[in-house]
Symmetry: C2
């Protein structure tokens, strides 16, 4: 409930709460039977004494609008004037239906805690910090560039001038050849993955992805009834032999890979394995979906960006997915996919059914960015800031947790994949961390076996890193006691 009390008002705070909840029930937003937040939680959110909320809830109970059962909480009365439960649709029945599975509970819990407590130092979030976004350049574009494009529905594949710039960008920065016809602009990489799963796969199909992988945190595969099989990741990424084995056993139809600075392990797929893998998948005619949000976030050997699978794919095996969320800003929601024209047409048609295409504004802004901002300069600044953050994090870990946590040094991207040297209950550690006001991702979210955590240095303020790791140390020590 993000609603503000009027502290200057002559109406007592508790009555403001009563009035607010009463209106929400009247509007049908809280149907009969639905739960109010707990008194403790609402008091925290509104930053008032818990007794104020208790008074408000007592008042609502006295009015007969809500009812409480010990241990179950307070809910909207099922015997109410106006909104009688007899007449409201059975919303909870509807909400439990549908073909979309909800997000993982632990993931939601971490997100909610971080959202509600700004004192938490956040190594969980996989995005960049606001100081890394090119805010000024975007502001300058809005101020200076005339809005000349049409405001009609966009082309199903996305804004043509942007697709042309994307083709140029991929040629220059990713050594990928493509024309604008085989590029589809998407709402980030996530929409690209969603469309591929929904349109190219059928329920029951088998696919493989890295283990661990951020794909495990995405319910989209299970929602679509896809069977998933793991490809274990070592320090050089997945092993092509495992692909062959999964094909033999389960006839996998597609592979989803994140070969560059993999999420969550930070590994680079070895060049030799890339070649073997491409040749094997060509033989087996298995498409590879290359999810590549970070290959440009090289932190060492600045001149040498790691190559993409797509750039060395001579058989047309790879569907390439890119995103600007980690290069510009996630709020922009711009990514794209590159695929054979027939695939692009199918996916564009499906998206057209879902939302009649993308908004023209973020696409126009990004196109202006490509045309007016030297991208290489922007990238260099971004890499240098990320490198500083990585180094501070690595120093802090080596100083505070050298005994407790081991990790390979990431040469790019924004993740450190830490292995706890002694057995630990991950869920307990996560909750203990949040109590100590530090957030990270437990490995189980990515399908890893016990004892791993992912620390991201993308979002966290560089000045908070050392304090954050000291809190993590406390949480780990608490769990070991």
């Amino acid at each position: 409930m993000k609603w503000k009390l009027d502290l200057d008002s002559k109406i007592p705070i508790y009555l403001q709460v009563v009035d607010y909840i009463e209106r929400r029930i009247m509007y049908g937003e809280l149907p009969p039977g639905s739960f109010l937040p707990s008194e403790r939680k609402l008091a925290e959110q509104l930053q008032v004494n818990r007794s104020t909320i208790t008074t408000a809830y007592n008042e609502l109970r006295a009015m007969g609008i809500v009812e409480s059962t010990t241990g179950k909480g307070t809910r909207v009365s099922t015997q109410m004037w106006g909104v009688s439960p007899k007449f409201a649709p059975n919303w909870s029945g509807f909400v439990e239906g549908g073909t979309f599975l909800p997000n993982l509970p632990l993931l939601r819990y971490i997100r909610e805690e971080v959202q509600q407590n700004e004192n938490i130092i956040d190594f969980a979030n996989g995005e960049l910090g606001c100081d890394l976004f090119p805010h000024q350049q975007l502001q300058a574009i809005l101020h200076q560039q005339p809005l000349t494009q049409s405001l009609s529905y966009d082309h199903p594949q996305g804004y043509l001038p942007l697709r042309k710039n994307v083709a140029k960008y991929m040629k220059e920065h990713l050594q990928i050849d493509a024309t604008e016809q085989s590029i589809m602009i998407t709402s980030g990489a996530q929409q690209a993955l969603h469309l591929i799963v929904q349109c190219l796969l059928n329920p029951g199909d088998a696919v493989a992805f890295e283990s661990p992988s951020h794909c495990y945190s995405l319910p989209l595969f299970q929602s679509a009834g896809i069977r998933i099989f793991p490809l274990p990741v070592d320090e050089h990424g997945i092993h092509p032999d495992d692909v062959h084995e999964l094909y033999r056993k389960h006839r996998i139809k597609m592979i989803f890979l994140n070969p560059n600075y993999q999420n969550p392990t930070g590994t680079l797929l070895h060049p030799k394995r890339r070649e073997t893998l491409l040749s094997l998948c060509a033989d087996l005619r298995i498409p590879i979906v290359e999810d590549d949000p970070s290959s440009l976030l090289t932190l060492e050997n600045k001149k040498q960006t790691c190559s993409t699978l797509k750039s060395i794919d001579t058989n047309g095996t790879v569907i390439y997915v890119h995103s600007l969320s980690k290069l510009i800003a996630p709020g922009l929601r711009i990514g794209w996919l590159v695929a054979p024209q027939s695939v692009i047409e199918r996916l564009s048609d499906a998206r057209h059914q879902m939302e009649l295409g993308l908004s023209i504004f973020p696409q126009w802004i990004m196109q202006q960015f490509f045309e007016t901002v030297p991208f290489e300069t922007h990238l260099q600044q971004l890499r240098s800031k990320l490198l500083q953050k990585r180094n501070v994090l690595v120093d802090a870990l080596q100083y505070s947790l050298q005994e407790e946590l081991s990790f390979p040094m990431p040469t790019g991207g924004i993740y450190i994949w830490g292995k706890l040297t002694q057995p630990i209950q991950e869920k307990q550690l996560t909750i203990q961390g949040l109590k100590q006001q530090v957030a990270f991702m437990p490995g189980s979210i990515f399908g890893a076996k016990d004892g791993y955590i992912r620390l991201s240095y993308g979002k966290v303020d560089i000045n908070d890193i050392t304090e954050g790791i000291s809190r993590l140390q406390k949480a780990i020590n608490f769990c070991y006691e």
Copy 2:
């Protein structure tokens, strides 16, 4: 293929075409076995002589890159260097899979023809013309307002300041009470409908909607395996008795309605039927999804906007869906839905899985619009321009087609629903219309029985209307001969 020839280049045109197609094959965009456009079509698109394309295709054939079979067209050779078909995934197999049905072929055909021939006078398109968009005001916002909001991922329900403005807007213009917690910003009304179908319904569920309805043109219901039943529309909209009957026979679980200036018939659901319907659906506990893109487009009785079902719903039966596509611009992609909080949370979570939320930019722009532009003034200008266009269209129809076409006068919205007074083959009429360079929507697209067409005065230039109707007259006369 939207690619441009370099007419000033020293390289002959036909060789530019050869080079372009060769590159597209090499990049994997046109895999072995895929068809090139016909010589005629490509010549039209590139605006060159057909003989140039013939020369280019001959060259490609001579190189062994493409092969032609009489009657089947030209396709990429299956015996090629590099891109051997043995190695490329079976893309056509993938494209035929998935759970999304493609759009209706006739609809796609009309859209493609209109897109490729700018001389067509377009009564088919259901959007507003570019002259009706508040381009200047949007430009002013970009130039003047500082971009102060964060560029991180957005709240799953959408940008909070915008949701607050939406609540205010609905109160002022639509007499709807809601708080920001029960509003979810969507990528137009289409995304709202898609989410409702995907998350609240299960395959096999029965739902009802108006007949005719634009819902028939949306494959999203069939894609989700939903059974659909018609509620016939007369001059006062649907009849509540039919709802009862469908519930009795098929246990319909939800109703989708467009009660205000319905698409395609332009009818207003009668106030008495609204009351009966709401009371009946409350009794049966059937939710109504009110799809309401046009209730503010009142063209007569300017002071009296027609009321929404949601504004008189006291039982919490209605999920309300609104869109700014017909009030601001479709390229903005801003709409929203209003529902009980549990429903909003479910749909937001599902969208998060699909695309990690909406872009912040269109939402920020719309929020600035609400804050800086007097909406009522904007609406009045829009209504007055639409009224002029409606009147010119009505005059033209009465002058040219009085015998051939009858229609009720629309009092709002942008559609005229015409009944052909004599039997006619609709598909033939549509194709004949396109030949005469006039486009409209055949009734069959909306599930209507033979003999109806929908004419929109939203997009068409006011100065082209009379000529367009004269072309329609020719097409009709041709079909009657």
